[in-house]
């Protein structure tokens, strides 16, 4: 028989642990609410500038700084020609496209040679960053602004480094070959460089392209997917970009500039040695190293996020692929936070060390552990009578309700600002997914993120297969 005092101690322990978990949820979600409130004036400011057509026309002049677009490609023979054309036809006065074929096993290079009339040229640029051997460099007889580098396989970061070495312009835009960039997105992305103070990097918004109509590499009709997995991710992306990252502009800068769509000052990228190969989330690692570099050298440069330049990407539409993606993202977060642990709560790194890093460690990295512990303790406590059923149900409903509230708020922000989704049916879908997301989707991603701890400490470095359906002139559902 277990003594009654022991059972009492266990019950009290469970109840206390449950309250700690509750406090964690309340603190974290209150911080999210704080981020949301802080993001409103930011959103208003950017919206005012982005909606001014006269100003947009003025900013589309040759006063803009020249930009090199870096495009890593691996086995993209089906879509590569359309992708390159869409990058070359971006509305921007001065740009070059540097495509790096990362040792593709398909006909990516042959397709490019044929479609763009490429000819081999000497690799006439200084190798500022070491990469896998370059096999050949090509230029196009038709498009002076296109350079193709064919190199041995070394991963995405290695390809981006090869492109960074070859870039001639002072600003570089890193994109994925399958990212669909809105035609004026680069003009908008360059706005902080033009109008703002000294800027080291700028991030734009990524939106979900699943179910949108795509023609010639451009989204021409934005729709919210009716498929629940993609639909939940639409809401999730809105929440992350529309208020999460905007608020960080005011709180010390973003720790994530998306690898699929981010503009950087080339000099700083080269100074920090480019992208780190071997890291599974090279974009976050780059942003943190950039923050560190700027602070350690007392360079007063900002790394803002701006909401109106939009790139569209296809999100996973199967649970297995989503699982691999989220596990990898979280594994990258763990690795980045451990690599840069000396920045945590270190006043030398200003708001990045004192606010952003603690948030990412305690609010993002540890969140799945605390969340699962909270659910587990609530159920066990309820079963053994340590907590009342009223407390248990209220705890779960408040935890889920807070997330839903923030998601609905993000939908409202989207509706009062950029309104990419014009149909009423899309707004209603967004609202529906805001509710569904908290009831299953989020818990599922918590499980994927937990797996990341296991894989990280086992030393797994793989990306995992990311199958996509592609966009080729996709019709809406």
């Amino acid at each position: 028989m277990i003594p009654a005092e022991w059972i009492q101690v266990v019950r009290e322990g469970l109840a206390t642990a449950d309250r700690i978990a509750l406090l964690y949820f309340l603190a974290l979600n209150s911080f999210y609410a704080f981020l949301l409130i802080v993001s409103i004036p930011e959103l208003w400011r950017h919206w005012q500038v982005s909606e001014d057509e006269v100003l947009q026309r003025l900013l589309a002049s040759d006063a803009l700084p020249p930009v090199s677009i870096l495009v890593p490609a691996y086995n993209e023979e089906v879509t590569i020609a359309a992708s390159v054309l869409s990058f070359l036809s971006l509305k921007y006065p001065r740009l070059e496209v540097i495509l790096v074929n990362d040792g593709s096993r398909d006909r990516t290079v042959e397709v490019l040679i044929k479609e763009f009339d490429l000819y081999q040229v000497p690799p006439a640029y200084p190798r500022t960053i070491a990469t896998k051997p370059v096999r050949a460099v090509y230029r196009s007889r038709m498009h002076s602004r296109l350079i193709v580098i064919d190199k041995d396989n070394g991963g995405k970061a290695d390809s981006l480094n090869a492109a960074l070495s070859a870039a001639r312009h002072p600003f570089v835009l890193a994109v994925d070959a399958d990212t669909l960039i809105e035609s004026d997105a680069l003009l908008r992305l360059a706005r902080p460089f033009v109008l703002g103070k000294h800027v080291a990097a700028v991030g734009g918004t990524i939106r979900v392209a699943n179910s949108c109509r795509v023609e010639m590499g451009r989204v021409v009709d934005a729709r919210v997917s009716s498929q629940w997995l993609a639909g939940c991710q639409v809401v999730e992306y809105l929440r992350a970009f529309l208020f999460g990252r905007l608020a960080w502009n005011r709180l010390g800068g973003n720790l994530v500039i998306s690898g699929a769509f981010g503009l950087f000052r080339r000099k700083y990228m080269v100074d920090i040695g480019g992208y780190l190969t071997g890291n599974v989330t090279e974009d976050m690692d780059l942003a943190v190293r950039l923050h560190r570099y700027l602070k350690e050298r007392n360079i007063n440069a900002q790394m803002p996020f701006i909401p109106d330049p939009v790139a569209w990407t296809e999100v996973p539409s199967s649970v297995a692929v989503l699982g691999r993606q989220r596990e990898r993202w979280h594994r990258g977060l763990i690795g980045t936070m451990i690599s840069h642990r000396r920045m945590l709560l270190n006043p030398r790194y200003g708001a990045t060390g004192m606010i952003a890093m603690p948030y990412f460690v305690f609010g993002e990295l540890l969140a799945p552990v605390v969340e699962v512990t909270g659910y587990f303790l609530t159920i066990v406590g309820f079963l053994i009578g340590a907590i009342s059923w009223q407390f248990g149900l209220l705890f779960l409903s408040v935890a889920v309700g807070y997330g839903t509230l923030l998601s609905v708020w993000a939908v409202v922000l989207e509706e009062v600002s950029f309104r990419k989704y014009r149909r009423r049916s899309d707004t209603l879908r967004l609202l529906a997914f805001a509710f569904i997301e908290g009831l299953g989707f989020r818990q599922m991603t918590v499980w994927f993120r937990l797996q990341a701890f296991w894989k990280y400490f086992r030393g797994v470095e793989s990306w995992g297969a990311m199958t996509r359906q592609g966009f080729a002139n996709k019709k809406p559902e």
Binding site: L55, L64, P122, F391, T427
Partner: protein
């Protein structure tokens, strides 16, 4: 209060807030639809009145009356679009004097001192449409506005209101402006070329601050002001290489035999940036006389100078292309590589690079 009660209050607050957000969302969507439908009707009426004025009886009053019906911001949007696309300069002036004292326009002009920058931005846009000499002080203040979006729009108003003193002050301010605002100011000076040149020439002296000097030389080149370019050419032996680079770039916009001689000298400059700028400028002059000096410059030790020299040769027509073809077999591997790189480009691709 026990934890269950706290959670209960939190749950009720959440539910109320959530319901409020959803109600707001639906209400706002409905209101936006109604407003945009109403605005569309008013805009159609304005378009009809506009046609009547421009292509019909020439009477502006009905159009001005139709603008009164629009919200002030929409009226300003429409007026700005018209000024930029449809109206001739005479019609623009007639329109400016007709709307200047309209209540909606006075309202917007009064926002020039607002604490909200987006109100000041609207005032700057309005001044670009209807501003006059009486608005000089306001425009000058908006030019120095801390919000660059306001400053950029105020520059659009500059040509309407500027006098010689104002131009002088703008020239003094020009070197220290952020690059984009500087470029807009330079573009707006195009409309004031005659008034700008004497003020600019006063500043193109060797003892001027080098940083400012190169910006003024850049302005002389951008506006192709011959007198100012002559003054700039005299600075080709300035001690600061940034000034010499600016001189080389400006000379590429001055088609004159003296320019080629000065550029040939600058191709021997100790600074590779100056040599590269001089090579590019020789290509811009487009004279076959530059073939011989450029064929020598392609042997420069600097990659960038070789690149610019080959590019310049490529832009000199058939004879330049032929020279490049010969350089492909040059015993110097670096020269041959660069010639291969440039001569492989098609005409369109080459033009793109030259125009950069």
């Amino acid at each position: 209060m026990n934890p269950t009660a706290i959670l209960g209050v939190a749950a009720i607050a959440q539910a109320v807030f959530l319901a409020g957000l959803i109600a707001f969302l639906l209400f706002r969507r409905r209101r936006t639809v109604v407003r945009s439908e109403r605005l569309a009707v008013l805009l159609v009426e304005s378009q009809v009145a506009l046609k009547g004025w421009i292509a019909g009886d020439g009477v502006i009053e009905p159009f001005i009356r139709s603008l009164r019906e629009l919200p002030a911001e929409s009226a300003l949007d429409l007026a700005s679009q018209l000024a930029a696309s449809v109206l001739t300069s005479d019609a623009r002036e007639a329109f400016a004097s007709a709307v200047r004292d309209e209540p909606w326009m006075r309202d917007i002009l009064g926002r020039a001192t607002s604490r909200a920058w987006w109100h000041r931005r609207e005032a700057a846009r309005a001044l670009a449409l209807v501003g006059g000499p009486a608005d000089r002080i306001v425009v000058e203040r908006l030019l120095g506005d801390g919000q660059p979006a306001v400053a950029v729009l105020a520059i659009s108003a500059f040509p309407r209101v500027a006098d010689a003193q104002m131009i002088g002050r703008a020239l003094d301010r020009l070197p220290n402006l952020p690059s984009v605002i500087r470029k807009f100011l330079i573009a707006s000076f195009q409309q004031l070329r005659t008034a700008v040149e004497p003020e600019l020439m006063l500043r193109l002296t060797p003892d001027a601050e080098p940083y400012a000097l190169r910006r003024w030389i850049e302005l002389a080149g951008a506006l192709r002001l011959n007198g100012a370019l002559d003054a700039a050419a005299a600075l080709d032996s300035h001690h600061d290489p940034r000034v010499r680079r600016a001189v080389a770039r400006a000379l590429g916009r001055r088609p004159h035999p003296d320019s080629l001689a000065a550029l040939r000298a600058l191709c021997g400059d100790p600074d590779p940036g100056v040599r590269a700028a001089a090579a590019r400028a020789m290509g811009q002059l487009g004279s076959v006389v530059a073939l011989a000096p450029l064929s020598r410059v392609v042997h420069d030790p600097s990659w960038n100078v070789r690149y610019e020299a080959c590019l310049a040769l490529g832009s000199l027509g058939e004879r330049g292309r032929a020279a490049l073809g010969q350089l492909r077999a040059d015993p110097d591997r670096y020269v041959a590589d660069m010639a291969r790189l440039i001569s492989g480009l098609g005409d369109g691709a080459l033009l793109e690079l030259v125009a950069e």
